[in-house]
């Protein structure tokens, strides 16, 4: 009995030692988009209580080739054994850019800066992330001054234990446009809640239960015209993390139900509702450590959904249009570990079809997306 217990503990320790350093958006993206279902450093923005697991590292997310606007840089510093702090610059924001663009066409509110702090209270880790974005432009056109401004404030807080994570987000986006005596404004509030629970079934297998929720509303005003926007998102899923061997991991996730609803309602006017329902979504990720310094990843996703657009015009009959659709995608990823530095790449499989430039004459990039993580203080750097 003692021997079995020791062997189990040793095996679990080996698994923990083998994989936890591997992390980033590119990693979970190249595994079919299973970020919610495994432990990864990119979890921190949904579950800030996990911040304590990712101390002393610098992270660079390079989301598109040669496009600085889509790069994010962050660092995590440990001030003591029970706290961590840091910041991220140029993080993407998920705001309705089409609506924002119609209010403040000269501005963009699609990137923010974040600072965070994580700590420990007894056996519970907690974390808090504050995000801010601002943009402003004033133009004197002679007859009329044009003033545009946009801002975003977001606060995410979370708590985590060994087997559960909870995260709560509240955000306040706003935008305004003034030209002479006329103006238009847009602004509102968003609330997000994410939770997941890990249940260790065997030494190799862990079950994950996940729930996500988001509700946001905003009002747009121009003169006497008003439009109310509402967004509701709900996701329920379950996953399995199966550590086949020390160096091979399989993640299976099933999104049993997903709802993404956008509604716009003009005061005393038309109402439009777009609803996308996922029934279901299947995500698969495989991570294999081929050599101590070389990791290969494979991901697949199959999403079945219905999309419904319903309109309730001020005059005339209501309309409703529903489409059922499915989609399939495969992703490949590579990881290279050099001392404290990890490079994760979303591999462009097109290069395998065309061959290198000397053969095909085609200019194929090797990677579509790259993440870099540097760990301070790791042995071997």
């Amino acid at each position: 009995m003692k021997k079995t217990f020791k062997a189990t503990c040793l095996f679990i320790l080996c698994l923990v030692m083998a994989m936890p350093v591997l992390a980033t958006e590119t990693r979970v993206g190249s595994m079919g988009g299973i970020g919610y279902y495994i432990r990864d450093n990119s979890n921190i923005f949904y579950f800030p209580g996990t911040l304590m697991q990712y101390k002393n590292q610098a992270v660079a997310e390079l989301r598109a080739k040669n496009n600085d606007d889509l790069y994010t840089i962050g660092f995590h510093m440990s001030s003591s054994s029970s706290s961590v702090f840091g910041a991220y610059l140029n993080r993407p924001l998920n705001l309705p850019q089409d609506i924002l663009g119609s209010v403040t066409p000269s501005l963009s509110l699609d990137r923010c800066a974040s600072v965070f702090y994580g700590g420990q209270l007894s056996s519970i880790n907690y974390g808090i992330i504050f995000s801010i974005a601002m943009d402003k432009e004033e133009e004197d056109t002679g007859s009329n001054d044009v003033k545009e401004s946009a801002s975003y404030f977001g606060l995410t807080a979370g708590a985590s234990t060994d087997d559960a994570d909870l995260g709560l987000t509240i955000e306040f986006p706003s935008a305004s446009y003034e030209m002479g005596s006329s103006d238009k404004t847009w602004g509102g509030l968003g609330l997000g809640l994410n939770g997941r629970y890990f249940s260790q079934q065997t030494a190799e297998m862990e079950v994950v239960l996940l729930g996500t929720f988001y509700y946001g509303f905003a009002k747009q005003e121009q003169g006497s015209s008003e439009i109310d926007y509402t967004r509701l998102q709900l996701g329920l899923g379950a996953g399995i993390n199966y550590q086949a061997t020390k160096n091979n991991m399989l993640v299976l996730a099933l999104e049993a139900f997903g709802l993404d609803m956008d509604k716009s309602a003009v005061e005393d006017g038309d109402e439009t509702t777009e609803t996308t329902t996922t029934l279901p979504g299947i995500y698969i990720g495989v991570e294999s450590k081929i050599k101590p310094w070389f990791i290969a990843r494979l991901g697949a996703r199959q999403v079945y959904e219905s999309y419904k657009e319903a309109t309730d015009p001020e005059y005339g009959d209501d309309t409703e249009d529903t489409d059922f659709r499915s989609s399939f995608g495969v992703t490949f990823g590579l990881g290279i570990v050099m001392g404290g530095l990890e490079l994760d790449a979303l591999f462009n499989e097109g290069i395998l079809f065309d061959g290198p430039n000397v053969i095909s004459g085609q200019t194929n990039t090797l990677a579509n997306r790259i993440s870099l993580t540097y760990h301070f203080g790791r042995k071997g750097e």
Binding site: G35, S42, P96, Q233, T245, N248, Y283, S326
Partner: protein, 150 residues
């Protein structure tokens, strides 16, 4: 060894299940809790990139290039037919080009759609949108446009 067998059997089975289910279009290949390139889902707070999010709301229905024609009055007091090309962008901007008698003029600006009205840089027009046909009602004039490009 047994673990390897289970591991690869599961992968092969899942692959076969997914292939047998068939695949459809790729309008939105992302779920709410997964499938996005940033590793999460369409509700991602981390990233709402263009490829992951729907062009939602009314604006998305208008985005594209529209072409039509209407009579415009010359400074000499007689009308001529002009070809109008209107490009509506998702970022709230538009570009409108008038072409007549070999000459052209382009204006750019911002627009806002509220209900059944379209504001283009202070100008207000009622509209009807049916598929790829957009009709603007401008101070007694009617401009019918056909979408030629999304």
């Amino acid at each position: 060894m047994r673990s390897y067998r289970i591991f690869f059997s599961v992968i092969v089975c899942l692959g076969l299940i997914m292939m047998s289910c068939g695949v459809g279009g790729s309008d939105n290949p992302v779920g709410v809790t997964g499938g996005a390139m940033d590793g999460y889902g369409v509700n991602s707070i981390v990233e709402g990139s263009a490829q992951d999010s729907d062009a939602s709301g009314q604006t998305g229905d208008f985005v594209g290039t529209w072409v039509g024609s209407m009579d415009i009055m010359t400074p000499y007091g007689f009308p001529i037919e002009a070809t109008i090309t209107l490009t509506i962008n998702a970022d709230g901007t538009y570009e409108m080009t008038y072409e007549a008698l070999g000459a052209s003029e382009t204006e750019t600006g911002t627009y806002l759609i509220t209900g059944d009205q379209l504001f283009i840089d202070g100008e207000l027009a009622n509209y009807t949108l049916t598929g790829n046909t957009l009709i603007l009602y401008l101070e007694g004039e009617t401009l019918e446009l056909t979408r030629v490009n999304v």
